[in-house]
Amino acid sequence: MSSRSRASLALLVLVLAGCDREERNARGAPLPETGPAQQAALAATHSDPRAKQYENVSFQISQGQRLYSWMNCVGCHAHGGGGMGPPLMDEKWRYGGRMEDIVATIQKGRPNGMPAFEHKLTEQQAWQLAAYVRSLSAQPRQDVLSGRADEMSNTEPQTLDERKPVKDAAGSEPKGPVK
């Protein structure tokens, strides 16, 4: 390489370095909880293959039922009819009724009083619990639903319940994959 071309290469490097100096990250990276990266992660779970695996397996639903009692869900939501918390056996879902939405609600909590359970449950347990919550409105396949209610108050077995359409709080059916 000639000294001339060597000089022009050095000049080029200097010029390019000057360009780099003008490129600044003015706003910093968004916080992971609210940023697009997290949104993307949530969107990805909408096609999460675990949804079907958990909600269409009797074992997972009955594990979820035990957790529902153990984590004191019953105190607020009763056996689906609600109380301090909203009912879970009807077709209205304030924060979405898909498996992924329910898992997010359980893990992160919601602003009107639903506490976050992410440090109290494993990820697997959150999915099991979500599967049971969906079974309260007969969302999973009929042949995996429990044939009898466990609790003393004797709600109707879920197998006698009809599957409800999943709606948001305003009563409309959200777009996108539901099952």
Partner: protein, 608 residues
């Protein structure tokens, strides 16, 4: 001072004479000698400055323009939408020509100008934390504001106490007393006495440790806090504590009557009513249920839950305590009102408090010593056999004891008791106590539960239904001296509204399907219905009466169904699950077809 007192007394007796001079007084049967504690019930001034009307908690207005013969002509004068649609339990407060009301969460406080037909003067929005809704057992209610010395005092659901200027609505101070992360909320109306703002916490269903807090009314600074469980120093038990019964004497019983550390999450919340005797300088209030509901997880008496405390108002030091339901097995909170009366007991005048207890007994307790003078059932009870007056202890019924692995059926009264929070009224004119209450029984199953901070700590499931007779509500006129009912009205729905007694011998109350009723107060009347009107939504608030700026008598009440009993409508809940709202929904399945959620103030008067 003494001369002044004498003048006051003369004025009082003058007022009594005036009252008896009304044409309707002659119709009242022979008076039984019961009257409100004089120092706690000043002469009628036409206002209504605290939810209980006065420190004796009579909820009686001496006004008598509205009476038995003209009440049927009552007409609405104005109404006001309060801006919420949850349970409205508060009493409207009237000071001079202004009315103050507080809504459920988000706890708006409205000042309405009564000289201008109820036009709003100002609104104060305290912005409580939204998450408090999730730890509010049984709807997001508030039981009222209170007025003292130019200021309005109230608490928000998320556990803040506010003092605001009554004229301008500007905030003077704010004190955070509760922590929602532990499940603590505040729903009660504060009481102001001797420059102390007294307020307690709610959250007995969340393993909260109950307390009553006194703040300095001027600055909002903490004066004292008395816990309902734990060591004596926390409960403010010292040398002046002289309980009447031997079982309540001993060191640190608030620790020893629990299994290790149980008292730390043991309940005993204070969310009901406080009365005050200015002569004895004692406040009186009840403590709530122990936590969890499952009694197997907390062997022992669980002191000092489910009982009544007398405390020095200035220092908070306990004077006496009586536990009406030791080792509570049925969520029989003891937070109900206490009415301070002077009345003959076995021929001798005694200074007493009368308490319609959650457990179904009408207690008459000596308010200086804490001795139970009588305890008679005012509703159907099969959960205990009676109260042994020698020991003060209820006599248990072993077959009603909840046990894990079985369901105990037909426990009466149910978890909300023979009467819940909604307060009674006492008329010095008839000598009767008017008690709005309920007639529910329940099935109960218990199972072990674990404490998770900020979640319900119950370990029990309940299913409620109507008690004997099938009527879920009862309105009882009780003669505290003769210790029996004068008359009683059966109501189909549980009664969740307060009662109001007036000098015209008319008693008011509301029903959960929205009927506002006026009945004949007199002992021989059998509670004859004089007038009723259907309001927008069910009534669970406390009616009041006052003299307006134009000199006329008014009656005010708020309609807005909700609360534990009405959450099926205001939440709304799903009636297919009988365990909803801790089992109350099973008894309220018909309510959604009979009323709707709402929130409106109604003011009535006779036509000009």
């Amino acid at each position: 001072m003494k001369g002044w007192l004498r003048v006051r007394l003369k004025l009082l007796s003058g007022a009594v004479l005036l009252l008896s001079a009304t044409p309707f007084a002659g119709l009242a049967a022979q008076q039984n000698g019961a009257r409100p504690a004089a120092s706690a019930s000043p002469a009628e001034d036409g206002q209504w400055t605290m939810p209980a009307k006065n420190y004796a908690s009579t909820r009686y207005s001496g006004l008598n323009q509205i009476n038995i013969s003209n009440v049927a002509r009552l007409k609405p004068v104005f109404t006001f939408r309060v801006g919420t649609a949850k349970g409205l339990e508060a009493a409207p407060i009237v000071v001079g020509s202004t009315m103050y009301i507080i809504t459920p969460y988000p706890n708006y406080v409205w000042a309405l100008d009564l000289a201008k037909g109820g036009k709003p003067k100002w609104v104060f929005r305290p912005h409580p934390k939204p998450a408090s809704q999730g730890v509010a057992c049984c709807d997001v209610v508030n039981r009222g504001v209170t007025y003292s010395n130019g200021r309005i005092f109230f608490a928000t659901l998320d556990g803040s106490v506010f003092a605001i200027d009554a004229n301008s609505g500007r905030q003077i101070w704010r004190a955070q007393v509760g922590n929602i992360n532990k499940g603590e909320t505040v729903t009660m109306a504060p009481l102001v006495a001797e420059n102390r703002v007294l307020v307690g916490n709610s959250g007995g269903e969340f393993g909260v440790r109950g307390w009553l807090t006194a703040l300095d009314a001027g600055s909002g600074k903490l004066a004292w806090r008395a816990y309902s469980t734990g060591p004596d120093k926390d409960v403010l038990i010292g040398p002046s504590f002289k309980p009447f019964y031997a079982k309540d004497r001993g060191k640190d019983l608030g620790v020893k009557s629990w299994q290790p550390d149980g008292w730390k999450i043991g309940g005993g919340t204070t969310w009901g009513w406080i009365s005050y005797d200015p002569k004895l300088k004692l406040i009186y209030y009840g403590t709530g249920n122990p936590g969890p509901w499952n009694p197997e997880q907390r062997p022992g008496d669980d002191k000092w839950t489910a009982g009544v405390f007398a405390r020095d108002v200035t220092t908070g030091q306990a004077r006496w305590y009586y536990q009406s339901t030791p080792h509570d097995e049925f969520d029989h909170d003891d937070i109900n009102e206490q009415i301070l009366l002077d009345m003959p007991v076995n021929g001798r005048m005694r200074a007493v408090m009368v308490r319609p207890g959650r457990n179904g007994f009408m207690y008459v307790i000596d308010r200086a010593s804490g001795q139970v003078l009588s305890a008679d059932p005012y509703g159907f009870i099969n959960s205990v056999r009676g109260v042994d007056l020698k020991t003060g202890m209820p006599i248990p019924v072993p077959e009603k004891k909840p046990k894990s692995g079985r369901i105990t059926r037909n426990i009466c009264p149910a978890a909300p008791g023979a009467k819940d929070w909604n307060p009674s009224a006492f008329s010095p004119h008839t000598g009767l106590l008017y008690v709005p209450h309920i007639n529910l029984c329940m099935d109960m199953g218990v199972m072990e539960t674990s404490y998770i901070s900020g979640t319900p700590y119950l370990g029990a499931e309940v299913k409620m239904y109507a008690g004997p007779g099938g009527n879920r509500g009862v309105f009882t006129a009780w003669d505290p001296v003769r210790r029996k009912k004068a008359w009683e009205l059966k109501e189909d729905l549980p009664l969740w509204s307060g009662a109001l007694a007036t000098g015209g011998d008319v008693v008011f109350y509301g029903t959960m399907d929205g009927w506002f009723k006026a009945v004949d107060a007199r002992p021989g009347s059998n509670g004859r219905l004089l007038w009723q009107t259907k309001l927008d939504s069910g009534i669970i608030s406390q009616p009041v009466s006052y003299r307006g700026p134009d000199g006329r008598q008014y009656v005010a009440v708020m309609s807005g169904v909700g609360g534990w009993s009405g959450a099926i409508v205001s939440a709304p809940l799903d009636a297919r699950d009988p365990s909803s709202a801790l089992g109350f929904v099973n008894a309220m399945r018909d309510l959604p077809a009979r009323t709707k959620a709402g929130g409106r103030l109604y003011v009535f008067a006779l036509p000009r």
